[in-house]
Each structure stands twice: as C-alpha cells, then as structure tokens.
Symmetry: C2
C-alpha cells in the first residue's frame, strides 16, 4: 500500500501514556516497528524509564529515536490546564513534533482529554473543519460499524454533524476499503420528520451531499450493521459507548450472580463463560487499534488507558495506514468541495 514517492512516515509514540506506561507503550510500539519497517519510530517520555523497559525485555532500539521529556500529564489532570502547565510533557512534545512537521503521527494511550486538547490546540484543525471528531468501532452482525462522534464535542451544530459524516466516510473507505460507505444519522425514528432541531437540519445537509446517506437510523440499528458510519453528536455517542460497556459488565455480573446459586449453576456458567468469551471477542477494543481523532491537521490516535502492548501495536499500525492512505489531505479536499452547501 506504501507509495514509494512519499517520504518515510514518522510516528511518535507517547511512552508515558496509559495505565501501564511506559511498559505497554514501549513494548507495543517496538513490536509494531519490528513487524513493519516501513516507518520511523520515535518514543517520547522519560528516557531512563524507556531504556529500562527496552533492556529488561532484551529489545534493541535506536537511542537517538528516544526523545526525552521531563513532565508527565497524569490521568486525573485537567486537560487544557495540563497542556499549558506541562510544556515538557510527552503529550505536548509529541503533538508539537506533528505540528512542526517533524513527525506525521502521534499515538498515545494517555489522558484522553489532554490528547484531544493537544491535538486540537497544538496540531490544529484541517482547514475547513469546524470540529474534529473521535470515532469508535462497534461490532455488528456482519462486521464493524463506526460511530462519529463519541466524545470530542457536545452541542454539535448541523454543519459539524455533516463534517463527521464526511470524515467518517473517508476513514471507512480508506481504512476498511469499503467503497461508498453507507451513512446513517442517529435519531429517534426513521422518517425524515423525526429528530431534534439539530438532526433535522443536518438531515437536509446530508441529503444534498454526494455521501451515501441512507437517512435516519435508530438506536437498535447501530449494532445491526445496516450502515458503515453512524453520525451523532458527541454527547449522544459518548453516552451510547459507555452504556455499551455497562451492558457488558451487567452481563458479567448476571453470570457471577447466577453461578453463585449452586454447584450446577456454577458448572453451567463455566461452560457459558468460554462460549460467551469467544463470541464477545468482537467487542474487544484492542483489536481495533485505538480511536482515530479525525479533522486534526496530522494523524492523532488516542488509546484506552488500559491499552495492552497489542492495543498499542495496532494503534501504531493504524497510524501508518492513515499516513499511507493520505487521510488528512483527502479530508481537506473533500470538505473543500462541500463549502457551497455548508
């Protein structure tokens, strides 16, 4: 997929990001690097700690590609405050490298809000994009549906929802190879007349576009796979995403509860457990390689705080793919074409 005429992709990984940093970040990043030499890897963070992980795990990594920083943005830090008060943190330094075109992509499993703030404020938006969007992957009966937005921004205006649809469509086309992906607007009924003020206006904008807009979809359609891109305000998407996580936990709880009521139940649950586990593998976020933050003028991938080395590896490989597919430029060109209806 690599275009030999393009300069080599440079990916920066936040070694200090995530609940198991620097271990998981370093192991995952180097694993990705060893499996695909088509990019240059930089690790940003406290050098001694990074080197210790490398040594402890008998790995080799070019010392010059470790960028030393002295500060750490903690998971509990207030995002915008932190990126101001901690200029020598791995998140701020990583974002600056992308801003200054010294790197093409930044990957972090650190403080989500700080990553979003750094990406939006330091790297900046793609010209023509009003608001960047964070997407997520939800399994469906036949594959995976993407949902934009799931938390980058609330109180989205109709034009923002339109932008999410454009960016989501490009992402799905370029990364999943789905031509003309179907786009659905999340609402409270399938009819054109159902929705709130914002979605009713967004519906009209989407109808005018060249996107493969199928109209409104309902909550139950999200997991049905009837569309490739679900578009919604970040307030709704975030609540949905976390509700889905809650659903998985209540299932686990019900299983435990059922098992506690006698030996026979316990045996049944043991059998059920492995079956369910196999089935629910689809819901495992690690497989999907982090959520892309689209609309930022550079590649930025945000991982779950509890990312495993495998999750980090997949995030790095996803960043490489986004670079190869020229996602940022494609979004810029596409949104430019819609300037007349926005």
């Amino acid at each position: 997929m690599s275009d030999s005429s393009k300069p080599k992709c440079r990916i920066v990984v936040d070694a200090m990001g995530g609940d198991f940093a620097p271990r998981n970040a370093v192991l995952g990043a180097i694993d990705a690097f060893n499996s695909n030499k088509g990019f240059e890897l930089f690790l940003v963070g406290i050098k001694d700690e990074i080197k210790k992980v490398i040594t402890d795990n008998n790995l080799t990594f070019n010392d010059e590609n470790i960028i030393h920083t002295t500060q750490i943005i903690e998971m509990g830090d207030t995002p915008t405050q932190a990126i101001k008060s901690k200029p020598d943190s791995s998140i701020v330094v990583g974002a600056k490298l992308v801003k200054e075109k010294k790197a093409d992509a930044f990957v972090s499993a650190g403080n989500t809000g700080a990553m979003m703030a750094a990406s939006t404020l330091i790297i900046g938006r793609i010209p023509g994009i009003g608001r960047p969007t964070i997407g997520t992957f939800m399994p469906n009966e036949s594959g995976v549906t993407t949902v934009f937005d799931v938390g980058a921004s609330v109180d989205s205006k109709p034009t923002h929802l339109f932008e999410y649809a454009v960016m989501g469509s490009i992402f799905v086309k370029e990364i999943y190879g789905i031509d003309n992906p179907k786009v659905g607007l999340l609402s409270v009924g399938e009819e054109d007349t159902k929705g709130n003020d914002v979605t009713l206006t967004a519906f009209q904008l989407l109808k005018k576009s060249q996107l493969n807009f199928v109209g409104n979809i309902e909550g139950r359609d999200v997991l049905k796979g009837s569309v490739h891109v679900v578009v919604c305000d970040g307030f709704v998407g975030n609540i949905l995403l976390k509700f889905g996580e809650g659903f998985l936990s209540i299932l686990k709880h019900l299983l435990r509860d059922y098992a506690s009521k006698g030996l026979f139940n316990k045996l049944k649950v043991l059998l059920v457990k492995s079956t369910l586990k196999q089935m629910l593998k689809k819901f495992d976020y690690q497989e999907y390689g982090g959520v892309p933050l689209l609309g930022v003028n550079g590649i930025s991938i945000i991982g779950h705080g509890s990312s495993s080395p495998l999750a980090i590896k997949n995030m790095v490989l996803r960043a490489k793919e986004m670079y190869d597919r020229d996602l940022v430029n494609k979004i810029e060109n596409s949104i430019k074409n819609y300037s007349s209806i926005l």
Copy 2:
C-alpha cells in the same frame, strides 16, 4: 394501600390497542379485574369483537362496562392526524373519559404516538408541568433503574429535565416505596463541568432542589443501579432504550452464529441459551407493566405493541396503584413548590 375514603378507581382499557388486539387486551384486563376487585373496569372498542373474545374464553364481564367505538387508530397512523380524524376511536374515546373525569386511568398498547398525543392534547398537562415524560425501566445489578425521558419529547429545556426528575422521583417513591430516591443527570462525565448547554443548566437547577440529586452520571452507570432515577432528554433516552434492545438482539445473533459452526458448539449454545434466558428475564418488559406517561392530568399507561395478556394485566394493576398513591396530585403539589426556582 387503598384509601377507603376515596371513590372507587375507574380504569379504561383500550381493547383495540396492540398487535394482538382485542384478544390480549381483553384477556389481560379481565384477568387484572378478577385478581383485584378494588376498581371498576371499562373496555373500550368494537363491542362485538370484545364480546367474542369474552365468550370464546368462557369469561364473564358486565355488558354495560363495554364502551362501543367504531373507529380504530392503526399502528401506522400519524398520531396527531389520527386523533383528529378518528374521533370515535378507542384511543380518543378512552382519553376523553379521563378528561371528563368519567374515568381515572386509561391503559393502551396501541399506537404509542397517538396515545401520547391523546394524553397530552385531550387529557392535558398537570398545571405547572411544561412537558409530560415517558419513563422506562432498565434492570441493574441490584434491581431496576428508571429512565425519564425516553421519547416523549426532544430538545428538552433545562426546566423540562428538572420536571422529569421531580416526576420520576415521585413515581419511584410511591410505586417502588423507595424513600428519597437517588437522581442522576445523564451526561458525558461525572464532574459538574461536564455536559452540554442544557444539562449544565439543569445541573444547577437540580442542585438547588430538595431532590436527592447525586450529580452527573455516565452511560455505564445506567445499568449499575447507582441511582433510582436517570434524567435525560427524550432524544438520548430513546436512542439508549433502542440501543439496549439492539444489544440483546446481537447477543442472540452471536449465539445463533456460534451454534451454526459445528455440533459441539450447538450443544454448548443449547446449554447457554437456557442459562442466559433465566438471567435475562430481568430485561423482560412484560414484568414491568408498561411505561407510565407522567405529567398528564390523569393516569395514562402506554404498553408495547406486542404486549401479552400478562403485560396488559400488569399495566392495569400499575394504573390502579398510581391511583391509590394519588400520583397526579402529588406531582402537581410538588411542582408547585418549585415554582420559585423554575
């Protein structure tokens, strides 16, 4: 629980409402009546059809309590249009009986939108209530959480969310006997500062109230049971409700899919199925007796189109309970007390 000084409760059941009308509606209503003689029951609909169900099932029912109507609002009819163009439909006639104080409660598993329109436009709102709300029940680790609103209205204003909280709290207290029920505002983060414009303002209103307001909750908390009443705009609540239904169907789909891959898988799934079924019984809406439409100046209960006789029976008994607990007056008095902050 009945107050002997109160006049006998009069409940009207829409015999034509639901996918299996008049059969399920008539059987469920008469079953409720036979199990609790503390109320008077009226069946509204096409008399011959109602009587046929009664005869076919060897039941007895007072002929004078069957109110004959000639029109039927179908499931696909446009709500507000239908209640205007079909004045002799069971839904319009039932709502009018409550409006004219000839009945205390109206129960229907018919066209949800038409029931909502008839309740709001014909029966009318409780003085001081800006918008009625439809609630739903969601199972949680320890019992059941209620969610208001799940579809009565979109683009709710902060004062509407406040009203949902007041009405939901009274419902949970009176019907479930939970003193001082915990109220959570559905948002994208637990901190006071997280939310959209509407929830941020609603948060401040709720903080000033005497409700047991615990603050913002997130999507994952809905099923955790950390609060008794979840408050949200109907757009969000409706999407959440239908997403939950979708989650249950994808689980079933995954089971079928897994079972299709070999005999051993099939056997395992057979075992899993009964276990899951027992566990997921909590998710069965029939147990909960329909969703209450609160804020209407009379008792109105809306059932699922596919309501079984058991579901209808539980809806009727729920209506009786709401009458006994004087829910409508309690809501009116409570909202009056908050007039200074609204």
